[in-house]
């Protein structure tokens, strides 16, 4: 568990890399001219309560694209709060059982979203399939999902069969599958892999196309009312 004892410092390192990346954007914005913002409070409220949560911008690109994006977005939010800001979920009043069911559901949503995104690229026009940056982001998300899923299974496997409780459909199914295959997953290496993938992914956000995770909501809420909207 050496790595985990350094997690606090690793997290600080990730925050620093995030800050450097984001500050580059902010420094560029600081050079911009001040322009009167049209749309006022209406645009602000529409952004916060409608355009960002329902991802309406991407809706016009078709159902498969919206579904993939919306599922990834929802699960991203869930996992962000679950692991980085757990107090939000704790203070929401949800009981433990509901939280575990939701955890499994969002895990399934993430997997479905990533699968649709991959499939869509496979069937789309060659030049729009994406480049390294695009596949890096999707592969990282898939890696995080897969390592998290295996981690969950290894956690359940480490508990005596009779004492197992708290796991739900996805974990239960995975554990059943691996138990039947006679494969016993090792918890610690999987934990290292999972944590490292998450940290690398988060740190790379401002340096890749994933910056849109931060910028798009910001633009929707505080940006200009554009004719394209």
């Amino acid at each position: 568990m050496e790595l985990l004892s350094y997690l606090k410092y690793l997290k600080l390192g990730v925050y620093f890399i995030l800050l450097v990346g984001i500050s580059s954007h902010i420094l560029v914005w600081m050079d911009g001219l001040v322009e009167e913002r049209e749309g006022g409070i209406k645009k602000f409220l529409r952004g916060i309560f409608f355009r960002v949560p329902f991802q309406t911008g991407i809706m016009k690109l078709g159902l498969s694209r919206w579904t993939a994006h919306f599922l990834i977005f929802l699960s991203f939010l869930w996992f962000l709060f679950f692991y980085w800001f757990p107090w939000v979920i704790k203070s929401s009043g949800l009981n433990e059982k509901t939280v575990f069911v939701l955890h499994d559901l969002f895990s399934l949503a993430l997997f479905s979203g990533i699968s649709i995104a991959f499939l869509r690229r496979f069937f789309s026009r060659k030049d729009t399939r994406g480049e390294f940056e695009d596949f890096y982001s999707l592969s990282m998300l898939f890696g995080i999902w897969l390592s998290g899923f295996l981690l969950q299974i290894s956690k359940i496997q480490s508990i005596e069969k009779t004492a197992r409780k708290g796991e739900f459909f996805l974990g239960k199914f995975g554990t059943w599958l691996f138990d039947n295959m006679g494969v016993n997953l090792s918890f610690v290496p999987l934990l290292y892999i999972h944590v490292m993938l998450v940290l690398i992914f988060v740190a790379s956000i401002p340096w890749t196309k994933m910056i849109h995770i931060l910028m798009l909501p910001l633009k929707e809420v505080f940006g200009r009312e554009n004719a394209g909207n």
Binding site: V28, D31, G32, L33, E35, I211, H212, N226
Partner: protein, 408 residues
């Protein structure tokens, strides 16, 4: 290398727009320039990505600590790609982030012009011609209103068109440079004038006093020439105390209806002729009765459609004409493919303009329609040339040409 500040005219919102590109590549599927010139540097996504990278290298944290490190080639490649765009707003339409690319490109082009990098050499004559002759076609001012005299003499219009400085009518018909000077397109102006006569509308034109709206200079980044033209036009229209200015050109309409309003509040109404004619039809001042048995397809001009959201008005006029069968092209309304004439592409990249309009003619032919109808003299001109070049069976028409056949 002279100093270029790419973000000179950009606001905080523009810069936020640049950062918000999700690299989804949806613009690849719709960009009409990329359709004919398959270089990725021309796609809006690639331009935004390069611009973002240049700006960060110039002003980001690392630039702040270690100094700017942008290569000249990077800037030059970006600038050459920037001008190969007709600012048709198709990318803005499909962009999930709603990034206002036309506004961005125009503002950056303005920065390039002020630092001596733009416009392209082929485009420079446009601004010069506007300064010398008040039109981009290098035609003398005195010839601007000649189409009206000629049409009256030939009996094609029932009443002599009045000079608004004399009759002081409340409605001004702003003919625009293309419909005034291009012999093949004066038809649009003649038909509209006759429709006004039939409807009994008192109106006037400016004739030799009409000045270019400044659309092309604005699109190519020559903001100074645009501003001079805009202020002179606003002053003239205000002095004449006109209530309504009607446009046959979608580009002029976009410029006055949107870009002039960014300069100052306008004390007159600006309408495109499709809006005006539809009003006249609804007021029963124009009644299309004669059958015009034609299978047609309609091309949405970018400045009328995507920029002004006038998709239904021209279609409504066409629907009111008995006998007309309107077949929509696969790409119509907000997805209408640009003819390639706008944004300075016609002057700067004629082969791209030709390839784009050829593609639009292919779209029109694939509907099986006999005639291609539009509502912009600039698109009309570009598509007409393509029909001739391709030896297409299609005939190009303006909305007014079909309407007059039905009401006369």
């Amino acid at each position: 290398m002279p100093e270029i500040n790419l973000s000179e005219n950009l606001s905080i919102f523009d810069l936020l727009d640049i950062s918000a590109c999700a690299s989804c590549r949806e613009c690849y599927l719709y960009c009409p320039v990329y359709d004919v010139d398959r270089r990725k540097v021309l796609t809006p996504r690639e331009k935004l990505k390069t611009l973002n990278s240049i700006l960060k290298k110039e002003r980001g944290l690392l630039a702040l600590l270690f100094g700017p490190r942008v290569r000249e080639k990077e800037i030059m490649d970006f600038l050459s790609a920037l001008y190969e765009c007709s600012v048709c707003a198709q990318c803005r339409e499909v962009c999930p982030a709603g990034i206002d690319t036309p506004k961005l490109w125009e503002r950056i082009r303005a920065g390039m012009v002020s630092s001596g990098y733009g416009p392209l050499p082929q485009q420079k004559t446009i601004s010069q011609s506007i300064k010398n002759y008040d039109n981009p076609w290098m035609q003398p001012r005195a010839m601007r209103g000649k189409w009206a005299d000629r049409a009256f003499k030939e009996g094609r219009i029932s009443k002599q068109v009045q000079d608004i400085t004399k009759n002081r009518a409340k409605v001004l018909y702003y003919v625009g440079c293309t419909a005034s000077y291009d012999q093949n397109i004066t038809e649009v102006a003649i038909n509209f004038v006759e429709l006004m006569n039939i409807a009994g509308i008192e109106f006037g034109i400016l004739g030799p006093r009409e000045k270019c709206c400044g659309s092309t200079p604005l699109r190519i980044g020559d903001y100074k020439t645009f501003e001079e033209q805009a202020l002179a036009n606003i002053k003239l229209f205000t002095e004449l105390q006109v209530h309504t200015v009607v446009f046959s050109c979608s580009g002029c309409f976009k410029t006055m209806n949107q870009d002039y309003r960014e300069l100052q509040k306008l004390p007159f109404r600006t309408v495109h002729l499709v809006q005006f004619l539809l009003e006249l039809i609804e007021e029963k001042k124009l009644i299309p009765v004669k059958e015009v048995p034609l299978k047609i397809t309609y091309h949405d001009p970018c400045h009328l459609g995507r920029h002004n959201r006038l998709y239904d008005e021209p279609r409504e006029i066409l629907k009111r004409i008995p006998g007309i069968e309107l077949i929509e092209m696969k790409r119509s309304r907000e997805f209408s493919r640009c003819c390639g004439a706008g944004g300075g592409v016609k002057a700067g990249f004629p082969s791209i303009n030709n390839a784009m309009s050829d593609m639009r003619i292919d779209d029109a032919e694939s509907t099986g329609a006999d005639e291609l109808v539009t509502a912009c003299p600039f698109c009309y001109q570009s598509l007409m040339l393509s029909i001739q070049r391709k030896n297409s069976y299609l005939k190009i028409r303006d909305v007014t040409e079909l309407l007059i056949r039905s009401v006369k």
